[in-house]
Symmetry: C2
Subunit: 356 residues, 2 copies
């Protein structure tokens, strides 16, 4: 089976040496530019980096020489000279998952392309591997570190390193560390408020895995918001897993306990759960959202768009988490570190499971 190969597409790589003359493709150096422009490398440096103290005409000459030679400064040499590399390390534990990537993209956006580059490593949930990656990144003289957890619960601190560290998604257990997390309680409250806005009054809660802090925080936020409206869930919140199967099973429990008339909306701990829940309701012949509305968490497009109808969900704003982490890291490298927890609020995304 593993040797199966299609006809025309295949081509065996041939042994040909492509980089025959290593010196021929040599990148030009600042000295080359200086020579080309007829100045010293010191002035060439100043001219290109836009510092004061260089005549406009010579600056132009240097720049043109640089263009002619397609010169790009060697960031490694710059780093050695100025003491900063313009790189940061990102250690993640959830690369195959769906939380790290938006955080990474948000961070990448915040660090401009040419300013800061990101070393990405995945530690696969293993603390030994995490330490290896961290020390490897420190050896590369990164200016800072962003650590992204696989789940939102607090995690051990890396302690005091030689560069600033920001913990994203999963906060550090040390409150003096810099952490950026998602407002899980707020998400629960947003869900309730939206359902109340829709005129729903009999709300059930199907939560996720009870061992995750996020599961109970979302529930707590929802319950507080209900209480603020003088209400309560129609049934004790059900904890289980994060997947569709649990959603399918849990909604049956709800129907068994309170019946079709006893509930007009369900808050689900994840989009997986919400999808399982919605599928089962359709199979039971119950209309979503007119009879029972459903709302999920995480706003994961694969789930929200595959569902019938499409899922209303609460976006965790993970790009924003990445942006804030990057911003605080840059501030810290400039000596303006702001220790402590920062909470990014979530955002409602309305689709078919709560409004027609």
């Amino acid at each position: 089976m593993s040797e199966r190969r299609a006809g025309g597409v295949m081509a065996e790589p041939q042994m040909v040496n492509k980089v025959s003359k290593p010196g021929s493709t040599q990148r030009p150096t600042l000295a080359d530019v200086a020579r080309e422009a007829g100045v010293s490398s010191a002035t060439a440096s100043k001219a290109l980096s836009g510092r004061y103290g260089v005549k406009n005409t010579t600056r132009l000459a240097v720049q043109q020489a640089a263009d002619r030679l397609k010169f790009t400064p060697n960031r490694g040499a710059q780093a050695l000279a100025i003491g900063r590399t313009g790189t940061v390390g990102m250690v993640t534990h959830d690369l195959e998952g769906r939380f790290s990537i938006p955080v990474l993209l948000g961070a990448e956006d915040t660090f401009g392309t040419n300013k800061v580059s990101i070393f990405l490593c995945d530690a696969r949930g293993d603390s030994i591997r995490e330490e290896h990656h961290v020390s490897s990144l420190l050896g590369r003289q990164v200016d800072g570190l962003i650590v992204v957890g696989a789940r939102p619960d607090p995690r051990p601190s890396l302690g005091n390193l030689s560069v600033p560290v920001v913990y994203a998604y999963a906060p550090s257990q040390d409150p003096q560390d810099m952490s950026v997390i998602v407002d899980q309680q707020g998400a629960g409250a947003i869900a309730v408020e939206h359902l109340l806005d829709c005129g729903k009054k009999k709300i059930a809660i199907i939560a996720g895995d009870r061992t995750y802090g996020a599961a109970s925080e979302r529930v707590q936020g929802a319950q507080e918001a209900l209480a603020a409206a003088g209400m309560a869930p129609v049934i004790e919140p059900l904890f289980g897993a994060w997947d569709e199967q649990w959603g399918r099973g849990a909604i049956k429990i709800v129907m068994d306990r309170v019946g079709k008339q006893g509930v007009d909306a369900v808050i689900c701990g994840s989009d997986h759960i919400a999808r399982g829940c919605t599928d089962t309701l359709r199979e039971l012949g119950i209309d979503v959202p007119s009879e029972i509305a459903v709302i999920g968490h995480d706003n994961w497009e694969v789930m929200t768009e595959g569902s019938r109808p499409h899922l209303t969900s609460i976006d965790s704003n993970l790009e924003k988490v990445g942006q804030r982490a990057a911003t605080r890291l840059m501030d810290a490298t400039l000596g303006r570190a702001k220790p402590g927890l920062e909470v990014v609020s979530c955002q409602l995304v309305v689709r078919g499971t709560t409004v027609e």
Copy 2:
């Protein structure tokens, strides 16, 4: 809504300067180690890098001194001296998607942790942004580049750069470039062979988006395998989209045209399609797999595990693609470049939609 914040969790970051004495946390240098060990920095260098020509006792002394000072060599300075950085750039176009990540993980595994680090950039399908990232990475003196496409169709070459480039998942249009891709035709053939093994004889094909080469390659591979068995699809392959909705619609078309008795297996162009197909069959009261078997492509766990029954699918071995890309890139940096296309074969993963 966006200002929603939960009660106890929140904490406003305070203005405190954590990196008060920048010089105090200074990393030790090789010269420090040498002084500590009472030798010159040249011998210290040799001792630590394990080269010949240094007495065993002094080597030990140097190593202990290094340990005592927690010395880690400055990779940037090493790079400047030896001419290689031990870093590679990875430019992706599908980070939010699901193809780049496995490729990245495979590459990361192949480059050991301490040997090579990866700069990751996402160009978001924009060629301008891609160029920016590439030149930025070249400025950082990466030893090589891996370019990962968003879809498996051939893409424009970056041309001749100062470092080797490997194209992964999406090959370069230039056959002289190094490319590593997935054997899409082989995947189609694997699907057919498995269904034949299951005793199925009336096979329909629901393909993906016809504008993707992968869609028609998978179909072609399947048709060739059928032909080799003296068979043909029971209906002309249907092209459409990659999503569940298309799967739901297409299976209805199949049933309309050939009826429940006219088909006993369906090959779907993606797991999304396969899931939509399976869901609809269940709603129609048709048993999967006993009456009609279903097989998907890509082996994406979210889809395969959420489905009832779980989806049989064909894994594209993307980690392997990443591994091969990394290996060829390393070979190329050693002067042993093997230009041309390399095809990685796929792998069958059997689950409930083809066997009880």
